[in-house]
């Protein structure tokens, strides 16, 4: 049975939800009015205020029964529009605020006026605030059409960030991103039109009580899901992600990778768990997770073959997006009904820890790029001595992401693994473990190059301000200690799970991915290691040489497959196929 509809009245503290949208948007408008000279002052005022609002929501939420509601103009839905925050929204609001704050500190030295191209700093600060406003709207919007508008605002703010430096290559990446995202949002809008036609409302709470397994609803669900997948860049709809995320300036990449893809993912979670709880069925959920598994395989293998560090991290984002989708089938019980919220908690936690860790990693790579003047993996030798803090931030972010206790990723993995055992879907447990190993593989690969000694001293071409490295480091540490936070008041996670993160069996859980990851890094990376001439390495190669050649051939095959899938027409056909398969599996299940 569904819980009764939450009371449609404005709760105490509901105005905070309005403020969380109004403050960043006001910042954008004010920056336009005051012009380029004051844009930094505006941003440095808005960012702390926004952070305070997010934490006020976090504090207030448990005191008001886990729900904050604000009715705009006091009109109740279906006529009016409601803003609602629950535990998921509060967690995402806080994550966004923390990441934006860290990126703002990182970018403060980068985007001084007159430091780069004249307009770029102005545009960056305005777009940063615009993305924040759009994301906050997504997290607290109470109806599907507001979500559509917020989703479009998010895209419009994210696309110019990609082409901030104005090179032809990044303009092309931005245009590809925009056009594919528009295709996705039109599909979403089409689903919205169908739902309105069937039930006469778009309010999430009202819809969740009215929907039944009608064929129209299922087609709408398939269309909306496909559109959101295109915006989230789930494999095989990822054609825009690697060039867009790798070409943007470091601070922009951090925002794009950490937060922007989470916006559409969050709407997808709302759709599957709140608008039509469990209605799409187990078969469609299995399809989503299968695409996620494909993303892990393609993203990780191609990441290990990249020569440039930023592209490696962009492809790792692709793999991590796939990881997020593994929660969908685990939330369904054996009867095909939506049973467990624990998988949802695991997925959301994974999203939060990826947001913090990946932003930290992109910022650390930005520092390394600024210091060395390049980001080729084979040219990283000795960088740990020249830029110790940047490498430390990268390492801690990577360690948090690969699921070392007590990071958020390890807690999320623990929750999801418990669910695989409970629902008997052992194959997703294998994918979860493999995902952890692949993450370890590319982190180990980069660190083994960065920590290797160098013959000649490294000459730094750019300054390395301390504040940039500290911002990345703090964010990475946040991700590493996420597992210790009291999640149970916001997410449906058991409170005693965090205490299981330590102990003897935790050690075995740590060793398995680390050893597997190191093996994968040796087998799949084509780059010569600086220690490659040592005797131990040669002895190792004599043993695993044939296996490694086979793996490298497999890797180049995957890379070629990825290139084909990133063609526009191939991606378009995959989009149609995914929507057809989703619709077919949903219709078959009901």
């Amino acid at each position: 049975m569904l819980p009764p509809a939450p009371a449609l009245v404005t709760t105490a503290g509901g105005f905070l939800l309005v403020l969380s949208i109004v403050v960043p948007v006001a910042g954008v408008l004010l920056a336009f009015v005051l012009g380029e000279r004051y844009v930094r002052q505006v941003a440095s005022t808005v960012v702390p205020v926004g952070l305070a609002i997010a934490f006020a929501v976090l504090v207030l939420l448990p005191r008001s029964d886990g729900h904050l509601v604000y009715l705009l103009g006091a009109w109740p839905p279906p006529l009016g529009v409601a803003l609602r925050a629950d535990g998921l929204s509060a967690v995402m609001l806080a994550t966004t605020a923390v990441v934006i704050c860290a990126v703002a500190i990182f970018a403060a030295t980068d985007f001084r006026p007159q430091s780069v191209e004249a307009r770029a700093p102005f545009a960056f600060w305005i777009l940063l605030l615009a993305i924040w406003g759009a994301l906050n709207t997504i997290f607290i919007a109470g109806d599907l059409f507001t979500l559509y508008v917020a989703l479009e605002l998010l895209t419009f703010a994210a696309v110019p960030l990609v082409s901030l430096d104005g090179r032809a290559e990044t303009l092309r990446a931005a245009l590809r991103y925009l056009l594919f995202a528009l295709l996705g949002s039109v599909l979403y809008l089409m689903g919205t039109a169908l739902l309105y036609g069937l039930y006469g409302t778009l309010d999430i709470a009202l819809l969740s009580h009215r929907v039944n397994a009608d064929s129209g609803v299922l087609i709408a669900a398939a269309l909306m899901t496909t559109g959101l997948l295109a915006k989230t860049a789930l494999f095989p709809l990822h054609l825009w992600l690697p060039p867009a995320h790798a070409g943007a300036p470091a601070a922009a990449s951090a925002i794009l990778s950490a937060l922007v893809v989470k916006g559409s993912f969050f709407i997808l979670v709302r759709l599957w768990f709140d608008v039509m709880p469990g209605l799409p069925g187990l078969a469609a959920a299995q399809l989503l997770a299968a695409l996620g598994a494909g993303a892990i395989l393609f993203g990780s293998v191609v990441a290990l073959r990249q020569e440039r560090l930023k592209l490696l991290i962009a492809y790792s984002t692709l793999a991590q997006i796939g990881y997020l989708f593994l929660m969908f089938p685990l939330a369904f019980g054996a009867s095909g009904k939506l049973e467990s919220d624990q998988a949802l908690a695991g997925g959301l936690l994974q999203a939060v820890s990826h947001a913090t860790a990946k932003a930290a990693m992109f910022m650390a790579v930005g520092s390394i790029y600024a210091g060395l003047g390049h980001d080729r993996i084979t040219g990283l030798c000795g960088v740990a001595r020249a830029l110790p803090l940047s490498v430390l931030a990268f390492a801690i972010g990577g360690i948090a992401l690969m699921g070392v206790q007590p990071s958020g990723a390890s807690f999320a993995k623990e929750l999801l693994l418990q669910e695989t055992a409970r629902t008997g879907q052992w194959w997703w447990a294998i994918v979860l473990q493999a995902g952890g190993m692949f993450t370890t593989a590319y982190v180990v690969l980069v660190l083994s190059h960065a920590l290797a000694p160098s013959d000649q001293p490294i000459v730094l071409v750019g300054p390395a301000p301390l504040s940039r490295d500290l911002a990345a480091l703090v964010l990475a540490l946040c991700s590493l200690f996420l597992g210790l936070l009291p999640w149970d008041s916001y997410l449906p996670a058991p409170s005693d799970a965090a205490s299981k993160l330590f102990g003897i069996d935790a050690l075995s859980k740590l060793l398995l991915p680390v050893l597997g990851g190191a093996a994968l890094a040796i087998l799949l990376s084509p780059w010569p290691h600086p220690l490659g001439s040592s005797a131990a390495w040669k002895a190792l190669m004599r043993v695993v040489g044939p296996l490694r050649r086979g793996c490298l051939r497999f890797g180049s095959l995957i890379e070629r497959g990825d290139e084909v899938l990133r063609q526009w027409s191939a991606a378009g056909i995959s989009l149609l196929l995914v929507s057809l398969l989703l619709a077919a599996s949903m219709l078959a299940a009901n």
Binding site: F145, Y148, V149, E152, T155, F156, V159, P160, S163, G166, R167, A168, E169, L171, R172, A174, L175, R176, L178, L179, L182, L183, V186, L189, M190, T192, A193, L194, Y196, G197, G200, P243, W568, S569, G572, I573, L575, L576
Partner: protein, 113 residues
């Protein structure tokens, strides 16, 4: 055939043509136009949905009309942003292809196609 069915079929045709153009056409400008056609199909669908309210004594349900107006504004801004990016790309690279490999060979071609 009732008016609603005719409009429904028109919406379906516009959506289908737009989808085809967006996926199959290599030129970005045609993709942008195809996106607008696709959007028009969806807006027409909202218009049909608005006929629901007719039974309640209204001539039309006003909510879908409000949604369509918002949708048109969003589609307009999307088109403007895409055209701006496209113009800038043409100014800098001299061609408007989205394929980076074709762009590398197009640079030697002065006609810029």
């Amino acid at each position: 055939m009732s008016a609603v069915t005719v409009f429904g079929l028109c919406a379906a045709a516009a959506v289908g043509l737009g989808l085809y153009g967006l996926i199959a056409n290599p030129q970005p400008l045609r993709k942008i136009i195809a996106f607008n056609l696709l959007g028009s199909g969806v807006f027409l669908m909202f218009g049909i949905v608005g006929r629901r309210g007719a039974a309640a004594g209204f001539g039309n349900d006003p909510v879908p009309q409000a949604l369509v107006i918002t949708g048109v504004v969003v589609a307009f801004s999307a088109t403007a942003l895409a055209i701006a990016l496209l113009l800038r790309l043409f100014q800098i690279a001299g061609s408007t292809t989205l394929n980076s490999r074709a762009a590398a060979s197009a640079r030697s071609d002065p006609s810029g196609h």
